[in-house]
């Protein structure tokens, strides 16, 4: 892998234009409530088919970075987080903006995002090759145990009920099973429906769950209007003293963001919550958090952008996405017949270097665009949903058609849009569903390959130290929320 090649490729007009376009679209969609960066990635996926794979990766990585970053604009100025990962930013960003320092609040968030992203890029570049080398010694059982751990981790850490999270992930797996079984060539779970012979199109399901369900959820807020924005960007550039003052907070939050990003399946929202809580717990003035305190904004924004680099590490080295949004990037690579995993570094080094170079460049472009245009982007909030939402659905229809030209895929997409909307209303996390959908074929293939090699024996799962440790972590993560709830209810009962 030659990183210089990646940077040089990015400096040519076409790829650089895609980088700018992707970052800008990501920021805009990230800033708008209702549409998330994940939905943008899902929506863009079919349109990258005809692009060379490297260009598709550049566009989508830039969108990923832009999407995570854009949420802070409306979170800070209007207390409306465009992305779930920007929710924590509202706690201090909005009070600071309302106290007459909107420019400083934005400056803190944008600068923290840039530095968090840049630090995570360092982790991406240094840790990925090592991790890929380690992963080369993984056999089928190790890969299966890793996928299992990813599912349990995302279910346990998605801040809701672990049972609902796991059910969501397993339901995603069930959806991936119909069609021709790759190992035996037999049809399964097609129920006599010819269209199901090829299974549900992953793209149609992802578009439904990420984009259509979001439109449906957003439709009920169609009459929401926003107050006219009266703010300026005075103070958006921070002084060197401010950077020095925040240095430790930035480093700590970046490490948290990268680490949580590396954990399979856990997204940027968790990073910002953990970094914010840690900053508050370690602060000498915790009472200032939530009142417009700079440390709160910096911790949240550093962590959620640091998560992006972290989430890409398991995606490119193990083929396991570090966040739900990264799972769409993974799907994009698979559609271009690029198999992420340890061999990616030797088989498609140009993809790895383009992805890494884009990750860094798009953070720099994001900084410039957001400093220059944050007020303009915030004003896009005034566009009524009545004009945007129908266009998104029509775009999704084209996206679903673009893959195979089958009407069945549109029905699948709309159907899963409704299912995703219902799951969202029942507070069931959708991240595990997407991860389950994408990872199930890998998990099944690896398990069956392992069983063929061991003559049907499952003993290697507990005999090998790596698989055993993955299984133990999965078990702990599954049991821990129940144990925690039990302890809490006992403590509450004791107090009562």
């Amino acid at each position: 892998m030659d990183l210089t090649q990646g940077f040089l490729h990015l400096l040519t007009p076409g790829p650089f234009g895609l980088l700018m376009l992707g970052t800008l679209l990501g920021i805009i969609v990230g800033a708008l409530p209702g549409l998330t960066g994940g939905a943008l990635l899902a929506l863009s996926l079919p349109f990258t088919y005809r692009m060379p794979s490297v260009d598709g990766v550049i566009l989508m990585t830039a969108m990923y970075v832009g999407g995570i970053s854009g949420g802070l604009i409306t979170a800070t100025l209007m207390r409306i987080p465009g992305e779930p990962s920007a929710v924590v930013t509202t706690l201090d960003g909005f009070p600071m903006a309302r106290a007459g320092q909107p420019g400083r609040a934005l400056g803190l968030g944008i600068s923290a995002s840039l530095i968090g992203g840049a630090l995570s890029w360092v982790a991406l570049v240094t840790l990925s090759p090592t991790m890929a080398r380690l992963a080369l010694v993984f056999g089928p059982f190790e890969n299966f145990a890793l996928v299992l751990m990813a599912l349990v981790l995302i279910a346990a850490l998605s801040q809701g009920s672990v049972v609902k999270g796991l059910l969501s992930g397993l339901f995603g797996m069930l959806v991936s099973f119909p069609g021709i079984d790759e190992t035996s060539g037999q049809k399964r779970l097609t129920f006599g429906v010819t269209e199901l012979d090829g299974g549900f199109s992953s793209l149609a399901v992802i578009l439904g769950v990420f984009a259509i369900s979001q439109v449906l959820a957003d439709a009920m807020h169609a009459n929401q209007r926003f107050e006219r924005l009266d703010a300026n960007v005075k103070g958006i550039f921070l002084s060197p003293r401010e950077y020095v003052h925040q240095a430790w907070n930035i480093i700590r939050s970046a490490v948290i963001g990268v680490w949580i990003g590396i954990l399979p399946g856990v997204g940027a929202s968790i990073s910002s919550i953990v970094a914010y809580s840690t900053a508050k717990n370690m602060s000498k003035t915790p009472e200032k958090f939530g009142t417009g305190f700079a440390d709160g904004i910096v911790a949240a924004e550093t962590a959620n952008n640091a998560n992006t680099g972290g989430a890409l590490i398991p995606m490119i080295t193990l083929g396991i996405p570090g966040s739900p949004a990264a799972s769409i990037l993974l799907a994009a690579l698979l559609m271009h017949n690029i198999q992420p995993g340890p061999t990616l570094f030797t088989n498609s080094p140009e993809v790895v270097s383009a992805l890494m170079a884009t990750h860094l460049f798009s953070h720099i472009v994001m900084y410039v665009m957001m400093v220059a245009g944050c007020m303009m982007i915030a004003r896009l909030m005034y566009i009524q949903r009545a004009y945007i939402l129908p266009i998104i659905i029509v775009l999704c229809v084209v996206g679903a058609l673009a893959e195979n030209g089958r009407m069945f895929d549109i029905w699948t997409m709309i159907g899963f849009g409704v299912i995703g909307f219902a799951l969202e209303m029942a507070a069931v996390p959708l991240g595990p569903f997407v991860i389950g959908l994408i990872l199930a074929p890998l998990a099944e293939g690896q398990l069956r390959a392992g069983l063929m090699a061991s003559n049907g024996s499952l003993l290697p799962l507990i005999e090998r130290p790596v698989t055993l440790s993955f299984l133990l972590v999965s078990l702990l993560m599954f049991v821990w929320p129940f144990w925690r709830d039990r302890r809490r209810s006992r403590r509450t009962a004791a107090i009562v």
Partner: protein
């Protein structure tokens, strides 16, 4: 809405979710009943979906039991979408608009093979835009413009990109 109402509503949704998962698992197990065994594969094509369905069944029953025993099932769930709790209040949330959007989306899908992508899209964008707008003359005029320009533009644009539209 009081906390009690809210938790009651959530419990009902959890029951519906758990029952749906039981149905999905049951359908999977039923669909696998005649799956032939593969001669050279120790587990066969049915094994992984079958055991996944069994685990889904077990977890759904566990969820149902927790709801019935009034244990917490929600935690602090974070929406993958924008957190509506954090959005400004002061406007009425209209769930029926989502229901209308669902019905219109199905009708739109059904209309595409009959009317063609462009005309079906114009109709869909007009209807959904009208439903979601505040129905002022200006808003309706904009909905019409967006529908016409959007549908014709997307149709022509994607045909140029060689995407085969009905």
């Amino acid at each position: 809405m009081s906390d009690q109402d809210d938790s009651g509503g959530m419990a009902k949704r959890d029951v519906v979710f758990a029952v749906s998962m039981i149905a999905a698992a049951g359908l999977t197990i039923w669909g696998l009943r005649n799956q032939p065994k593969a001669p050279y594969d120790p587990v066969g094509a049915a094994a992984v979906p079958f055991w996944t369905a069994i685990i889904v069944l077990a977890l759904a029953v566990l969820l149902l039991a927790r709801v019935l025993l009034k244990h917490s099932t929600r935690g602090n769930a974070i929406s993958m979408f924008t957190m509506s709790e954090a959005v400004d209040d002061g406007y009425a949330v209209r769930p029926w608009l989502s229901v209308h959007a669902i019905v219109l989306s199905f009708a739109y899908t059904a209309a595409i093979p009959i009317a063609g992508f462009m005309y079906a899209s114009i109709g869909f964008m007009l209807l959904l835009g009208w439903l979601l707008s505040d129905r002022t003359p200006r808003a309706i005029a904009l909905v019409v413009i967006v529908a016409l320009v959007g549908a014709v533009g997307l149709d022509q644009g994607f045909r140029t990109l060689l995407i085969d539209l009905p």
